[in-house]
């Protein structure tokens, strides 16, 4: 993985129906600024990542199926490096280079 200190490269996965919103592709490798805003010294969090994904990766207009009130929509589980995001501070978690982040919808089908 090539990543300058200003950028983070992370693996993002969508499952449980969410992949439909992201070109029907489950796994994406993305590079995003390590700080948000990029000129600041504020580390990029999951909250920032989610907005970034909406702006840069999502082709589907139904943004509200993924994000609600500026954060991950309730009913979507987030795993950070295979662990429940609740163990990591939820959307305030500061994204690290090389992280693997999985979004799983529990809302589709049974």
């Amino acid at each position: 993985m090539s990543s300058s200190p200003e950028n983070l490269t992370v693996k993002v996965e969508f499952s449980g129906g969410l992949e439909l919103l992201f070109s029907n592709k489950r796994t994406h490798t993305i590079t995003l600024p390590a700080h948000t805003p990029s000129t600041s010294t504020t580390p990029t969090t999951i909250r920032d990542l989610v907005i970034y994904l909406c702006d840069e990766l999502m082709r589907d207009p139904r943004r509200d199926l993924f994000v609600l009130d500026g954060t991950v929509r309730p009913g979507i589980l987030v795993l950070i490096n295979d662990a429940d995001w609740e163990l990591e501070g939820e959307d305030a978690y500061e994204v690290k280079n090389g992280d693997s982040i999985l979004f799983v919808s529990t809302l589709h089908g049974g």
């Binding site: 499952s15 449980g16 129906g17 439909l20 943004r63 509200d64 199926l65 609600l68 009130d69 929509r73 309730p74 009913g75 589980l77 795993l79 295979d82 662990a83 429940d84 609740e86 163990l87 799983v104 919808s105 529990t106 809302l107 589709h108 089908g109 049974g110």
Partner: protein, 446 residues
Amino acid sequence: MAPKPCALCTVNPAAIVRPKDRSALCKPCFFNVFETEIHHTITSTNLFARGERIAIGASGGKDSTVLASVLKTLNERYDYGVELILLSIDEGIKGYRDDSLETVKRNAKEYGMELTILGYKELYGWTMDQVVEQVGKKGNCTYCGVFRRQALDRGAAKLGVKHVVTGHNADDVAETVLMNLLRGDLPRLSRTTSIVTSTPSSVASSSPTDPASHTNIKRSKPLKYAYEKEIVLYALHKNLTYFSTECIYSPEAFRGSARALIKNLERVRPSAILDVVRSGEDMAKLCPGSDEGCGGACGSSTSAIPMAEEEEGGCGSSNGRNAGSEMANMDRQLAQNEAAVENELEVEITFHGRDGTQQKIKKQPKKIKGQAAASVPRKAVTKQVMGKCKKCGYLSSQEVCKACTLLEGLNKNRPKNHIEVGYDAEPENHVRDLAGQVKGLEVGSG
């Protein structure tokens, strides 16, 4: 990174936070407690009988996939001595079930279970594609849901199976509790909170086409106390293959009101889901107005509460739970509801939760309230009495059950717009308008 250790074994790193008590567990400990709790649900309610043949309503979705996997595990571990088979329903939507049925087939092979796939075509003479061709895309979810409700029973009867288990989870039950509470439908509340429901045959079916008695199938939901979150995490960490899709005829299906409310509650306080389930059970005990003497009071015993077709509905999910048709149901319920006061409450709370944007929508209820109160006329109270469908013998509050009514309409080549017998359409339109207004709001707030 120093990962938090598991609260149970204190050795492995924690990977899961349990919604019920926020305890942090490692994967092996989580698998163990998840399975053990379901075992406890099964044994404490004497759900299974040795030698029983049990059909798992399987859609390839997360709930039924986890149900099949866990029941197989428990049947072997604790020697229940039951025979588990898979029963899948194919609605007949071209392309829609292809992948999910492939998933079911794979599961059947993997779990070594017999699989039967039955189509709406075989059960009702109509595929959903044919229904849509005739009635259009609007309102077809009603057909899908009504047909689905009976499909597992009819399918089980064909197989000579007396017990069908479905993947309904705690979130589903909590959602149903809220819906029935908001409607003020306490008898139904007690029926839907019961772990076992049945469609008892009161025999004497007038229909000659009913030899198999699909009206005497026991239904149960072993995952009743399992959080949806844990079901998904179990499937994920166990690498179970499940399929997720929305019904292609209802792309907006999951913007459900009560469902969104449940998920918002969970975000604020995860234990809320089981709290709602338990509250529903407690309330059910206080209202023995259901069809059985105990009225669900023996909710955790083996009593089977009769369940009419309208209790669960919808399409898109294995469980027949679907938010889109819920809205349609809610619309109808609103239209039927006799008390304006109740309507206010329902409109208000329903649309709060609808897209999770409580604060933004909160401004609106005053306006909605006034309109709802003004536009929904008072109706005479019609007491709901559970009887049998004249045509097929299925438990129904109407003379002819919804499936038969819909089929009659289809077969006459003249579909019915309203499946409720004997109320006028006007209030429903008003409610639609309200829903439209709120929808407009959502767009602005998104």
